[in-house]
């Protein structure tokens, strides 16, 4: 029997899972859509991972969770490590590219930049204003142009003269698109213009005041878009690396952190049969009306959070 480590990254759009062995090699991995139900998504994820493993050989001894539902899934799986996605992505990317200096990450709703020096994160930033310039923005524009989001990047590559588009805000971008199409801009130019707009928005907002140094790794859902990759390379004037496994980086990072934590807990895939439930209620003890989230295993409360003051239930603790 050899030890294995499970990393789960539950994002708003997709859920990713990775199982590592003692030498950080990936033994199993999968990803699927969250579909608005993280608990169910993780159950499906676990079944898929279990099918890839030899249960007589590998024994999962620690779990790490990250992503927006990290806490919930952490409570559900009894995780050793619950980490925010910025740290998880940095650790994951560094495990594959130890010399990385800049990580660009554009996901469904978030975008971030992480700067690394000598293997440690020295600075980072995340988008402040809205979802414009992220994956959600590109898919809504693709829909508007009747293009498959998967083909978006390829189409952009055919452009020789990208159309400038006012694209920080989704709403204004749409009226601008209609306008540009009316005055006869070609579809591939508009698509390339959108890719470029994503990059400039990113650099103006998230990347402001940050020195981008090569090697640059680009990850997150939008990194699958070759049009955006090309735009980044042109504007930055340096090569931008995208891994085939880049969507797994967060899960990978948190699996490594779980292993590093040296906290080992019993974990069994059978939890797919156990019933988990979350319930939110409004605390009425003061006019803050905090939304308290309780998580139940077989009707027994295992964790709760969301309270702003002492009247609430269980305190969170960062100290290990």
């Amino acid at each position: 029997m050899s030890k294995a480590y499970l990393g789960i990254d539950v994002g708003s759009i997709s859920t990713k899972g990775v199982v590592l062995d003692e030498n950080n090699h990936i033994k199993a991995s999968t990803y699927l859509w969250t579909e608005g139900d993280p608990l169910y998504a993780v159950k499906r994820l676990l079944s898929a991972l279990k099918a890839q493993l030899d249960s007589s050989q590998d024994k999962i001894v620690a779990v790490g969770t990250t992503g927006s539902a990290r806490k919930l899934i952490g409570a559900m799986t009894g995780a050793a490590v619950i980490k925010n996605e910025i740290t998880a992505h940095a650790i994951g990317a560094m495990s594959v590219h130890p010399d990385v200096r800049t990580i660009i990450e554009i996901g469904g709703q978030d975008s971030k930049i992480i700067l690394i020096e000598n293997g440690i994160v020295i600075d980072y930033a995340m988008n402040t204003l809205c979802a414009a310039g992220t994956g959600a923005f590109l898919s809504s524009q693709a829909q508007r142009l009747h293009i498959n989001i998967e083909d978006f990047g390829e189409i952009a590559l055919h452009s020789t003269k990208p159309t400038p588009i006012a694209a920080r805000c989704t709403v204004f971008a749409e009226s601008d698109l209609v306008h540009k199409a009316q005055i006869g801009h070609k579809k591939e130019d508009i698509v390339a213009g959108l890719c470029k707009a994503v990059v400039t928005n990113y650099l103006n907002n998230v990347g402001k005041g940050k020195k981008i140094i090569s090697p640059v790794i680009f990850q997150g859902g939008v990194s699958k878009n070759v049009g955006v990759i090309k735009a980044f390379e042109e504007i930055l004037g340096m090569p931008v690396t995208v891994d085939t496994n880049s969507h797994l980086t967060g899960a990978l990072g948190v699996a490594i952190l779980a292993k590093k934590s040296k906290v080992e807990n019993d974990f069994c895939f059978d939890m797919t049969d156990i019933e988990f439930k979350t319930m939110g209620y409004e605390c009425k003890k003061c006019s803050n009306n905090c939304e308290i989230i309780c998580i139940y295993r077989e009707n027994e409360i295992i964790d709760a959070w969301g309270n702003k003051c002492e009247n609430g239930a269980i305190r969170k603790s960062y100290k290990n």
């Binding site: 020295i122 305190r315 960062y318």
Partner: protein, 355 residues
Amino acid sequence: MKKLKASFPHLGSYHAPLEVFFTAGFGVDYIVPPPITKRTLEIGSRYSPDYVCAPFKYHLGNFIETIEAGANTLVQSSGVCRLGYYGELHEQILQDLGYKVHFVNLAKYKAPKPINFYNGFKEIKPDMSLTKIAQIFPVVLKMFEHIDEVEDFIRQNVGFESTIGSFDKVHADFLSDLRMIRKKKELNNTYRNYMKRFKEISVKKPNNPLRVGIIGEYYTIMEPFSNHYIEKELAQMGIIVDRWLNVSNTLLHYPKKEMKKHIEDYVKYPMGATSIPTIDRALDYAKKGYDGIIHVKSFGCTPEIDTIPVLQNISNDYKIPILYFSFDTQTSETGFTTRLEAFYDMIVMRKEAKK
């Protein structure tokens, strides 16, 4: 004549000295403004112009809450940024909403001459006794100072308390005892007793704990609800928090000249409102090798936005990470904690790498 029930918008823990000032100085009732909550923000946002800075909305919401709690005389201060114009619009909005209250806008008496203060005070209560005010004023100022000293001590230690909640409990008792105080001697005794109690609380501080300095805009830095209780969050991560900006430092101990001299390599002129201490403290924390700096402000706060290019230069020169938070009325809790947790992880890693 109807009994005067005065109030001033809530800010941090300063309601005690204000209550003492109004009750003992003016001889009027003081309505302690309800603490800032989600409801304050909801009411405030509903009636405020859309893109005004968040403190305006908090103040408006809190004014309405104090009226509901029985206040009939509201006081608004003057200020050097947009704050200087809050009062007139607050008064107009409350009037348009049909509230019949006496609104004392100190911005009308803005020139910093004693006679103007006098006129402003007179508008609160025409038959006030200047002697009483003169007697209580030094006590009130000292009270502000003591509150700030106590909170400085708490920020240094609360992250390491053995029993969670010990500091909060003593702090609450301290603030409630202050409300009864009218004499300087009583104040000294109370302060000394409480400092002793604070020092007796058992703390387990590691040898070389993480240290973070907080800088930024006046209201957002001092009103915990508006900054998502950032100091509490940092304490729970086991971080010592330093903050210079508070009422007594800006009112009584403001070494403006020294600060301007200290930051002259970066800026030539004051950039408005709290920009000087923001930059001065950032530079000081950077020079002292703090693990990080957190800059907080409400969205659109011009003077603090203008300090950011300077802070970025300081961050680059001294290799100190700075986390920027811009709070508006919609800031999501998840977004906030993700960024704060990542900041924590980063400064931990940096610290380990330095060893």
